[in-house]
Amino acid sequence: MALTVLLSCIGVLLATGIVAVAGAGWKGLASNLVYAAALAAGAVMLSVGLSALAAAPSGAETLDLPVGLPWLGAHFRLDALSAFFLVVVNLGGFTASLYGLGYGNREESPGRVLPFFPAFLAGMNLVVLADDAFTFLLSWEFMSLASWALVMAHHRVHDNARAGYIYLLMASFGTLALLLAFGLLAGPAGGYAFSAIRAAPPSAGLAAAVLALALLGAGSKAGLVPLHVWLPLAHPAAPSHVSALMSGVMTKVAVYGFVRLVFDLAGPPDWWWGALVLLLGGASAVLGVLYALMQHDLKRLLAYHTVENIGIIFIGLGLALAFRANGMGLAAALALTAALLHVFNHSLFKSLLFLGAGAVLGATGERDMERLGGLIRRMPLTAIAFLAGSAAISALPPFNGFVSEWLTFQAILVSPKLPQWLLKFLVPAVGATLALSAALAAGCFVKAFGATFLGRPRGAAAQQAHETDRASLAAMFVLVALCLLAGLVPGVFIDALAPVGQQLLGARLAPQGQFAWFTIVPIEDSRSSYNGLLLIVFIALGAWLAAAVIHRWASHALRRAPAWDCGFPDASPATQYTAGSFAQPIRRVFGSLVFRAYERVSMPAPGRTEPARFHLRLRDLVWDTFYAPVQGIVDFGADHLNKVQTWTIRAYLSLVFGTVVALLMVLAIWH
């Protein structure tokens, strides 16, 4: 029943996309229609997902449709894992559609956005419901293509076309890897239904290959280092509510793909799987945040933070794999819960931040933080929402980001019980990188919020900004409320995730509902606990006390002094502390190692009138190491294959002849 409702909602979304193609001429009407339909479908699917998650332990619901490959059909399945991701997808889809209701009227090229937006949502929903390899890959590719079209919506903007091209390449590569993974799982008999794969799990060697391919395929979509290169290019290029969907939701669909492949289909893990995933996760967490710190483009900064948060999620998944391989069910459930809770949390605050960045972009037409500033006075509500999102992503209590990172640390603290020495050493090291990235993320959002919303406007656009429309604000504040709720009563959310752990690992955390006042105690014998309510009372009391003390005992004597005299008595806003200046110390520390940073100051000779200049060049080490050689080889090959175009007919025939003879020789030697 639930699946029928879901599939009809997906059908409605697809139909809306088709209607939007025809109706793109009526701008306002079409946009309202599309986003209202997406909103309604999202709300229905969200409630179905929630009820399925609540009822999950009772088993999965399946549905087969006679479409697709004739001997396979299309299988759909709604179990705890897909119900959870259904909630994530549709919560993001719901808020993005709500934002779209307001934003749609400002869109310059609605014909390039409206048809693909519902299609994109439909694709993501289909991926999490698919229960055979063919349907999964088809939906996956549909999702990729729809999002590609959305990335290319503003294709005349500088660099967007390149972003779309790189995205398309990486998406095809990822799908190829997944195709191979499913091919290995299905085996020579071609059992492509997931039920058939579950019934015949692969051998150890094959399973390791599936893990590697899943890391390549799902990892490239999620943005794991070093496969993340497309993400900071493509996510910001799309319209902001689509960026929110891509960063907040599509990367989570990729995580779903990974979890489905590795936890559900690939059979029991080996302990080194956990080590590999942990390493990649740790590298993504640190590199993501370091790259983010160097960015002055607000949306690109957020996109790099997605890389970081995906890293945190994969750290949780790696821990879960390591614990599972060693039969530590409870610890595995803890790590998996941490990872999935972070999936949920990141989808909330990353959507929130992208919507906020979209509001700023809409109000000022500017993504460069060095030209923003002082927006807290022009756009106070957006500023509050963005601040809440920043606090959440920086893992500050009482918001939700803290809870999931705290849970990840709890899982890391269990790691000394692991028998393998490599893991004993690796996990604390990864924990240290996690701590480092959390601290750097906080610094990065001080920079992002400070440079964008505080200080004085650095440009005319920022000076004349206006608060964004009500629908967009409503979308943002729904997310703020959810972020706060998930931070205050995390036990409810952890309990809601329990069926997923039960399904994948056969273990679950102790029900958190049993503890008074919404305290969470993930592992009872370690007795570490967290209570969001207590903390917010403490924060409120502390803040009130501090304010009272300052007001009561601070000097009453009136002093007059030049405002902001420490550094710029000059009235020009250009003398303010900038985003670049804020990031400079970090760049000094990590720059030479990670970015090969090169700084040069050229001072004019005395008496000359030209300005002094500061040059900074950063190199992307990942691009230089992994991608530049591939690009070089492809260019070289293309250059040289060009000659083949002007060969003679006889030369072509000789090529055919030579190939046939060579293949026959291989055959002759083979036998």
Binding site: T646, W647, T648, I649, R650, L653, S654, V656, F657, V660, V661, L664, M665, L667, A668, H671
Partner: protein
């Protein structure tokens, strides 16, 4: 199957390979046409013999078509074309005849080495015929790439087709429909190629396919 029928089939298939070698070393235009007619004649004999020993009367039709079209109509037509174009003296080969023949011998060895092991469970007749037909196909390809003249390339192409017929009849049970369509496609190919030859001739005043290269902007 009696030894005699096997031996005769073997004889025809072997002769076909031999005639293919004759095609390979023949460097005169009319000689080439005559040998091609012989090639087609041997194929039709072989097919007829297969029809006899397999009790498959429809193969007689195949043999008749091969005889009519490839041993008579096509050589005569090509003969006319050559006469009208006045190109009966111009054949130039790439590389010497000797090396081409050596390469051909190696190709025959290769096809036997490939075919005999992988068809181990098939009947003797099929195995031998498949090996010989692969040789004929490879020799036809070799002929196509070792001649510059368009007419000899056409003949090489059609000798490949003869090799395919040999393989198909030996495999037992190739439907007649397929054979007819193949025959017609070859006929169509001949027509197209004939027109093509005239067009080349009109444009470039030569039958050397190398001349096309200049037209395409490459370096001949």
């Amino acid at each position: 199957m009696s030894h005699l029928s096997l031996d005769v089939a073997h004889l025809f298939a072997g002769s076909l390979v031999l005639v293919s070698f004759m095609l390979l070393y023949q460097d005169r235009m009319f000689g080439l046409l005559n040998i091609f007619a012989l090639h087609a004649f041997v194929v039709s004999l072989s097919v007829a013999w297969q029809a006899y020993i397999q009790f498959a009367p429809h193969l007689y039709i195949t043999a008749a078509i091969a005889l009519m079209v490839k041993a008579i109509i096509i050589p005569v037509a090509l003969h006319n074309i050559i006469v009208r174009l006045g190109i009966h003296r111009t054949i130039d080969t790439v590389g010497s005849i000797g090396t081409t023949m050596l390469a051909g011998i190696m190709l025959v060895a290769l096809s036997i080495m490939v075919m005999l092991p992988i068809t181990a469970e098939a009947g003797t007749l099929t195995r031998e015929d498949l090996a010989f037909s692969l040789s004929v196909i490879l020799l036809g390809l070799l002929m196509m790439i070792s001649r510059r003249n368009a007419v000899s390339q056409v003949i090489g192409f059609m000798s490949i087709e003869n090799g395919l017929i040999l393989a198909a009849t030996a495999a037992k049970g190739m439907p007649l429909v397929v054979e007819i369509s193949v025959a017609f496609s070859i006929l169509v190919a001949l027509i197209v190629i004939g027109i093509f030859l005239f067009r080349i001739r009109e444009r470039f005043d030569t039958m050397d396919v190398h001349a096309l290269q200049r037209f395409r902007g490459g370096h001949p």
